[in-house]
């Protein structure tokens, strides 16, 4: 076998290891789904009526909200990447892996891929929940699959930011806090829950360049219908941009972690 096949098989072994935890502790998965489900129900039934007036004519709030929820779900979910790495670090697992003749890339690859798989599962589940409360895929099946792929890709990119943070702070609790504290405002100051036009001007300018807004808009175009090229292209650029910057950062932090 070549070193590339080793790198792939090592990464897959690590991915499998990271996913086993969800099979062994199903409550973990239950709780990572309950929160987005709660967001769907609260927003649709509590804020839905208030927001409805500011939506483009003929758009139902649940159709507007669900693509936003997908982005929120993958971004919140990606914060677990750093927490998982910090946990491995604190339990000496990383030391063990680093002393093995395995591919150096496998620990980070296995963790981000594993979280990508989990995000895929949760987004599919969210889609089903959405369908139950009236969400419809107006643009058809293929764009919907593209929307899923983009959401998961965006979450994957955020996982590398999370990995960079988790490996920098080392301990689980700090990773939890540091990984989440900036994600929360970033998600709310975007078009995830409300149309941008309802925000005050200064916040609008921020929200407009927020990659989360871009991604929510791209997913909306792919599920509601409408022009997709620009938002999808911008989102893909953001994904690539984040990966180009944070893959080296995370890798450097992983090397330095000794």
């Amino acid at each position: 076998m070549t070193s590339v096949t080793y790198a792939v098989s090592d990464a897959l072994a690590m991915t499998r290891r990271n996913l086993t935890r969800y099979i062994r502790i199903p409550t973990l998965l239950v709780f990572s789904t309950i929160q987005p489900v709660m967001f769907v129900l609260l927003f649709v039934y509590v804020f839905g009526g208030a927001v409805k007036g500011s939506l483009p004519h003929g758009v139902k709030y649940v159709d507007f909200l669900m693509p936003g929820i997908f982005v929120q779900t993958v971004v919140f979910g990606s914060t677990q990447t750093g927490v998982g790495l910090a946990e491995d670090l604190s339990k000496g697992m990383i030391d063990r892996f680093r002393s093995l003749p395995m591919a150096r890339s496998a620990v980070l690859a296995g963790r981000t891929l594993g979280d990508g798989v989990r995000n895929t599962f949760v987004v599919i589940l969210m889609t089903l929940v959405g369908l139950l409360v009236g969400f419809r895929l107006h643009a058809g099946a293929l764009p919907a699959i593209a929307a899923l792929a983009i959401a998961v890709g965006f979450g994957f990119a955020f996982s590398w930011i999370s990995a960079t943070i988790g490996l920098a702070v080392h301990d689980v609790e700090s990773a939890q806090t540091a990984g989440f504290i900036w994600v929360f405002p970033l998600t709310f100051a975007s078009s995830v829950f409300v149309p941008l036009r309802t925000l005050p001007g200064w916040l609008q300018s921020f929200a407009r360049v927020n990659p989360i807004t871009n991604t929510a808009n791209a997913l909306r175009a792919l599920t509601l219908g409408g022009p997709t090229t620009r938002p999808v292209l911008y989102t893909l650029l953001w994904i690539v941009g984040i990966l180009v910057v944070f893959m080296p950062f995370a890798t450097r932090n992983y090397r330095k972690v000794a």
Partner: protein, 342 residues
């Protein structure tokens, strides 16, 4: 024998920020033997192990394991070593078997080979019954055994054990010692760090004592004890209030030898040349002064005495800071902490 040492360390230095963890450490381990790296917390033991297992790069100096350089030949080196750290590095959510099989896959064993190896190691470490339970349900001793099993998957020729029995109950400790002896009998070279003098005494062919990043003594357990020479007399006062007086008389009897007192145990200890004579004098003096004695002993120096003499503090003191952080503290952090105390 003129064969190449299994481990060779020459003038290794490593600092973390301003703290010097290792300050020019050199030692060797002969193939098929056990070297005990002994020292208080903060001495630099863990840092040395981390350098030898490629987890840390030394600032200066050179180290080889099986002739492979720890900085340049990392990939080949990792295939030849096993590491069991201070904390059982096993995944709680996997079963014992899955843990070992995962390590097998990362050693790039075939699936069949990995399965066979896992079965063999689970058997050896008496984990067959628990093999298919998640590690979450394992006791501390079982986790350590599994961890040691995982470190053996690649049939390492050199095994690094960083405080392998810290936090274990005496029964588990003795079991683990037995396994380590078996491995050595099969030809494995072992480098183990420990704060337990008894452990070094039991297992190690040679002992390297380090403190503050320096090697301060080296030799077999007997050689180290012989270096102190003479006998140790220990007197325990029946009434703690008498201790000062007891110590004074012991000093008088031993013709000015340094007397060390331990207030908690109410003991006074002196290291002397002609033990039997001093003992008789001591008894006479105590009797004349009507001091009541609870216990009186004449013995050869232990590694504890060696440690006390070399480092200026008892091994228990040195070990204490570790205990409060025991169990859950991160391995990497421990290395830093160790550095910080050096």
């Amino acid at each position: 024998m003129s064969s190449r040492p299994a481990v060779q360390v020459e003038g290794i230095r490593k600092r973390f920020g301003k703290v010097v963890a290792l300050d020019g450490v050199s030692f060797e381990v002969a193939p098929g033997t056990v070297l005990g790296l002994l020292g208080p917390n903060g001495a630099g033991k863990t840092t040395a192990v981390r350098i030898l297992t490629t987890l840390l790069i030394p600032d200066e100096g050179r180290a080889e394991v099986e002739g492979l350089d720890v900085v340049r030949d990392t990939v080949a080196l990792r295939a030849r070593i096993g590491l069991a750290g201070q904390y059982a590095a096993v995944d709680e959510n996997l079963t014992g078997r899955e843990n070992i099989e995962l390590v097998g896959r990362l050693y790039h064993l075939s699936r069949a080979e990995g399965r066979a190896r896992a079965a063999e190691l689970l058997e050896r470490f008496d984990l067959v019954d628990a093999a298919d339970r998640t590690v979450r349900t394992y006791s501390g001793g079982m986790r350590r055994r599994l961890d040691l099993g995982a470190s053996l998957v690649g049939r390492p020729s050199v095994l690094f054990l960083d405080e392998p029995t810290t936090g274990l109950d005496p029964r588990s400790r003795i079991d683990l010692w037995k396994v380590i002896r078996e491995l050595v009998a099969e030809g494995t070279t072992v480098l183990l760090t420990t704060q337990y003098l008894e452990e070094a005494d039991e297992l190690a062919d040679r002992i390297v004592v380090i403190d503050h990043g320096h090697v301060i003594a080296e030799g077999t357990s007997d050689e180290l004890k012989a270096r102190l020479g003479g006998d140790v007399i220990e007197v325990t006062a029946a009434r703690p209030a008498d201790l000062a007086r007891v110590a004074e008389l012991l000093g008088q009897a031993s013709a000015g030898a340094a007397v060390v007192t331990d207030e908690v145990a109410a003991t006074a200890t002196a290291r002397v040349k002609r033990g039997a004579t001093v003992l008789a004098d001591t008894v006479r003096l105590m009797d004349a002064a009507s001091l009541e004695i609870a216990d009186l002993s004449l013995r050869k120096p232990t590694l504890d005495d060696v440690f006390l003499t070399l480092t200026g503090r008892p091994s228990d003191d040195a070990a204490a800071p570790h205990d409060d952080g025991g169990g859950s503290g991160p391995g990497r952090r421990a290395a830093r902490r160790e550095g910080a105390r050096a």
